[in-house]
């Protein structure tokens, strides 16, 4: 492919990124902002050229060693839900915008510490950016089959790098507040992460199924290599140890790399997005790893004996088969890996460079005197310049230092250098006693070891294969530190971290930090306690005037924003807007407002310039913190108590409401009872009155009236009996006689007295028996009553020549009886209520219920007392009652007792 064509493709690709970034920034729709997958994909900025190309090279040359850079993060990521949630909270309340801010704020908001961290990050990351540029340049020339031009002005890769620098500085500095979210950039990064995975999958399938006959074919052929076995197994404890250390390095890096800190912490919009990331991101890495092995070994099989760089098998394979499409895809995937790393790293480093080096050590004085617009412009320009300068520096680094080294070694050295921040970083969130002194000295010692152990040999050897003289003597004298079973990088990692952590721990426990360190230690370690009113936890004593601080704020935020911020602050803490003196809360609030723009250290310096701080001893700080902790606990207790009271009051209100309902129900019940009794009484009374007053009454009528009196008296007593019986059932006073009975026989016993009525109405009666066994446990007398109630009910509502069908079956150790009758449906809303005593449906207030109104209520209690359920359903042409009873009734008495409470 010609250089011009590929360059055009690159231009289009970058235009696509610009477009996505532009659309995301412009629209700011919820789809972009609140998308956990965009967040999770943006974390895949972890996968750089080193991962994309380098790990294939490692897999081909040193076997399983390519895995730790994936495995380490996969092991660590689940812990993010705890670690990152805390860091996100700490960063949010303190307006932290970079790794340097995060660590230095904890150790007393020290300007020098943040500067050291910035330098460490520059040292580790600039070569790493150079590495990406190297990958872009080499793959560009590989695809175009041209040689690398020594003249940077005629080298196409130079122009690609310049374009990336433009893109980063344009979108990366859109907000002067560094803690703002960069939606455009993050969306573009997420797209790139998706594409690089997509392209590696395409290549993977191409290699496995087009070049070879499946995975097993590659395995079979590759296993014939002499070194295959040794490279794809742990060669005993030695390799396993190396492997474990490499996992540790990458596990640490995923938390501390500035670009990871930026995407995971600064760009986090919602804590819950972390929950998605902890499964999505490891899955992403796993998919990536799956294709490394076949590409690496496939490449070795194809290019066996040829002098090619295995790191670029991914491009060489499709190129070998003249597949230009896949070659370009893979190149774009690699380009994505590089670009996203360069962009995010350049942005984060530029924030650190501007906030922690250039502003506090260079232009702070200038910023003090300018107005808001000029200050904002100056800060943005510093960042733009920083981004540009960093990328150019990295480019120079690539051209002059790492041209001959492998992607893998530069990447790992970068990880080990960054890992030196680990003790101070993790100490910040877990250890109160950690001090500035311990953290700085530990870090410097660790760095020195890395410098002598890794950096000097790495770059020195690039030019001189052997060193002689003083340097050699120096190295020889430290030879006793050599651990024979560890490789060079794991070895230096081990010693540097050991010394670093050791010094950090020893110096921290043997010296006392100042009050500010301890203040922030509390705030960091106990972030959950202080998250609501973190300004309250900031300890400061001295003299400060609101107007002075306001003047500073206005220079950076402008008049309107400052006024607005102060209004919110005064409202939050109920402070009089006329107050002249500032308290500690206002100091912290103002520092936070400035921190996003100029970094925490510079913010502190600016505020200190207009305030007069009194000395506070560490003891005092601890006392105040203890007090504040007590206050928080007290507040928490009071809140809990008030919540409990509220709950009690709610319960009481509910109980009262339920009593009122019950009272109404009782009234309705009594009303219904009275109504039911009055009807037969009226019939009896009327008949009696006629019989008493009328002597001429004909005999047959007389007999009829007397008969009426008898039948109505029976009806009366039946109602009374039903009421009393239901009451007894409800109170568990009816003892059940549970025995094994034949259910069909019981049913027949219940049915017999009703048969003549059924025949009278010409109703078709049928039974369906699907039982495996006939014997079940129940109280036969109650079951007869139950059948009679349901059948009697069915009889009333079934039209002449209708059907009543009873079906017996057995499901999951339960006896199921379904009694269906044709006839009018029960209104859906009444299906449950028909089992209530004297139930009256909506329109039954005026329509007389059929029967005493107690039959179904009694039926329900009988079923419940035996541990079963009953329900009514409208089905087809009528209604079905379904009774479910357990086959074996456990602890009869208890069942009754239990129902006594639930009825």
């Amino acid at each position: 492919m010609s250089s011009f064509a590929l360059f055009t493709v690159v231009l289009f690709y970058l235009a696509l990124l610009f477009l996505v970034a532009h659309l995301a920034e412009k629209k700011k729709s919820k789809l972009w902002i609140n998308n956990p997958y965009i967040y999770a994909l943006s974390l895949a900025v972890y996968c750089t050229a080193w991962t994309y190309y380098g790990s294939i090279g490692v897999a081909a040359t040193s076997g399983l060693n390519y895995l730790p850079i994936y495995i380490g993060p996969i092991i660590v990521i689940p812990a993010w839900i705890y670690i990152n949630t805390r860091i996100v909270r700490i960063s949010r309340v303190n307006k932290i915008s970079s790794l340097a801010d995060f660590i230095s704020l904890r150790y007393g908001n020290s300007r020098s510490f943040s500067a050291i961290i910035t330098i460490v990050c520059l040292l580790a990351i600039v070569p790493y950016i150079g590495l990406q540029i190297k990958a872009i340049s080499e793959t560009f020339h590989l695809v175009t089959e041209t040689s690398i031009s020594n003249n940077i002005l005629t080298d196409n890769a130079t122009f690609v790098v310049v374009l990336i620098a433009l893109f980063s500085s344009y979108y990366g500095t859109r907000y002067v507040d560094a803690s703002e979210k960069r939606l455009g950039i993050i969306s573009a990064i997420a797209l790139e992460s998706f594409l690089k995975l997509f392209f590696i999958i395409i290549l993977g399938f191409f290699v496995i199924y087009f070049v070879f006959d499946g995975f097993s074919d590659i395995y079979e052929k590759a296993s014939k290599f002499e070194d295959f076995k040794t490279k794809n197994t742990f060669n005993g404890v030695e390799d396993a140890m190396n492997w474990m250390v490499l996992c540790l390095i990458s596990g640490t890096a995923i938390c501390i790399l500035p670009r990871q800190f930026h995407t995971a912490i600064v760009e986090n919009r919602q804590e819950k997005h972390i929950k998605t990331a902890i499964w999505f991101f490891p899955l992403y890495l796993l998919i990536f790893t799956v294709f490394i092995f076949p590409i690496a070994w496939g490449g070795r099989l194809i290019f066996d004996g040829q002098k090619v760089n295995p790191e670029f098998y991914s491009i060489l394979i499709p190129q070998h088969f003249d597949n230009t499409w896949i070659t370009v895809f893979v190149f774009l995937g690699g380009l994505s890996s590089c670009i996203s790393m360069i962009i995010i790293s350049a942005i984060t480093l530029s924030i650190m460079l501007s906030n922690n080096l250039i502003i506090p050590y260079g232009v702070l004085g200038k910023l003090k005197s300018e107005n808001e617009a000029q200050n904002t412009k100056l800060i943005t320009n510093i960042r733009k310049f920083s981004i540009f300068a960093l990328i150019i520096m990295a480019f120079a680094f690539y051209k002059y230092f790492i041209l001959k080294t492998s992607l893998d070694s530069v990447g790992l050295i970068s990880f080990v250098v960054i890992a030196q921040l680990a003790p101070a970083f993790f100490g910040a969130i877990f250890w109160r006693r950690g001090t500035y002194k311990g953290a700085v000295i530990g870090l410097l010692a660790g760095l020195a070891i890395c410098y002598f152990g890794l950096i000097i040999p790495q770059y020195y050897f690039s030019y001189n294969q052997e060193f002689k003289g003083v340097l050699r003597d120096l190295y020889d004298s430290f030879d006793f530190f050599k651990i024979s079973f560890l490789g060079r990088i794991p070895q230096i990692f081990f010693w540097s971290i050991l010394i670093n952590t050791g010094l950090f721990t020893i110096l921290s426990v043997s010296s006392k930090g100042n009050y500010r360190e301890r203040n922030f230690a509390e705030l960091y370690v106990d972030i959950d306690k202080y998250i609501q009113n973190h300004e309250n936890a900031f300890i400061w004593r001295g003299t400060a005037y609101v107007s002075d601080i306001k003047n500073i704020l206005e220079r950076f935020l402008g008049k309107n924003k400052t006024e607005q911020a102060l209004r919110i602050f005064n409202l939050k803490y109920n402070i009089d807007s006329q107050a002249e003196t500032a308290d500690s809360r206002f100091i912290k609030f103002s520092e936070n407002l400035l921190a996003g723009r100029i970094g925490t250290a510079s913010a502190k310096i600016l505020i200190e310039g207009v305030t007069k701080e009194d000395k506070i001893s560490l003891k005092e700080v601890l006392n105040i913190l203890e007090e504040s902790k007590e206050n928080i606990t007290l507040n928490k207790k009071l809140t809990e108590q008030s919540e409990e009271l509220q709950k009690l009051s709610d319960d009481l209100r509910k109980a009262n409401e339920s009593l009122i309902i019950k009272d109404h129900q009782k009234d309705d019940f009594l009303d219904s009872v009275a109504h039911e009794l009055r009807t037969p009484i009226t019939a009896i009374r009327s008949a009696g009155e006629i019989l008493a007053d009328d002597d001429d009454i004909p005999l047959d009528i007389k007999k009829e009236f007397l008969n009426n009196i008898i039948t109505e008296s029976d009806r009366l007593s039946e109602i009374i009996n039903d009421i009393l019986y239901l009451d007894k059932l409800q109170h568990g006073e009816i003892v059940l006689h549970i025995q094994e009975n034949n259910i069909l026989e019981t049913y027949k016993k219940a049915l017999n007295p009703l048969l003549h009525l059924i025949q009278q109405k010409n109703i078709h009666l049928s039974e369906v028996n699907l039982l495996n066994q006939f014997v079940f446990e129940y109280d036969e007398a109650r079951m007869i009553q139950l059948f009679q109630n349901i059948l009697g009910n069915a009889l009333k509502f079934t039209d002449e020549q209708g059907t009543i069908q009873t079906k017996f079956s057995e499901i999951d150790n339960h006896l199921i009886i379904k009694i269906f009758n044709t006839g009018k449906h029960i209104p859906e809303e009444d299906l449950e209520m028909i089992f209530d005593k004297f139930y009256q449906s909506k329109n039954q207030n005026i329509l007389k219920p059929t029967g005493s109104g107690l039959g179904l209520a009694i039926s329900k209690k009988i079923v419940q007392a035996q541990g079963g359920t009953i329900k009514a359903e409208n089905s087809g042409l009528g209604v079905t009652f379904t009774i479910t009873l357990p086959e074996k009734i456990k602890e009869h008495k208890n069942e009754v007792e239990q129902h006594k409470h639930t009825l």
């Binding site: 009275a674 009055r678 009807t679 009226t682 009155e689 009426n708 007389k848």
Partner: protein
């Protein structure tokens, strides 16, 4: 001869009322619900209607409402005979325009007297 329609769905109650009113010289028409009352009213104008409230198909209240809309029935006396003896029910019945509200159980003799006094 005064014409009376007695509407109730309780057969045994109807029997006593029918016997007593016939004996007292009324021309008695028996209805089992409101719709049967309306059927009678298509062809006749009674002097008195005794209405139970809870009846199937068409209840006492709805029947009274329809009666009150018929101009030719303006002189017909309507008396509710109901087991519902709640003051709200009685109030509602009278508000709807019933001439009397008699609660069950009642004395047939007194009911008769009450009706006689209406004329």
């Amino acid at each position: 001869m005064k014409k009376i329609i007695i509407a109730d769905d309780e057969h045994k109650i109807l029997m006593s009322l029918e016997y007593s009113f016939k004996k007292n010289g009324y021309d008695v028409f028996i209805a089992r619900d409101g719709t049967e009352v309306l059927d009678f009213l298509k062809t006749m104008v009674p002097d008195v209607i005794l209405l139970d409230i809870m009846m199937p198909n068409l209840d006492g209240y709805s029947t009274l409402e329809l009666i009150k809309q018929d101009e030719k029935l303006k002189d017909t006396k309507v008396i509710f005979l109901s087991a519902k003896n709640n003051p709200k029910d009685i109030e509602r019945g009278l508000e709807m325009g019933a001439d009397a509200y008699v609660t069950k159980p009642y004395s047939i003799k007194k009911l008769m007297q009450q009706i006689e006094e209406m004329f």
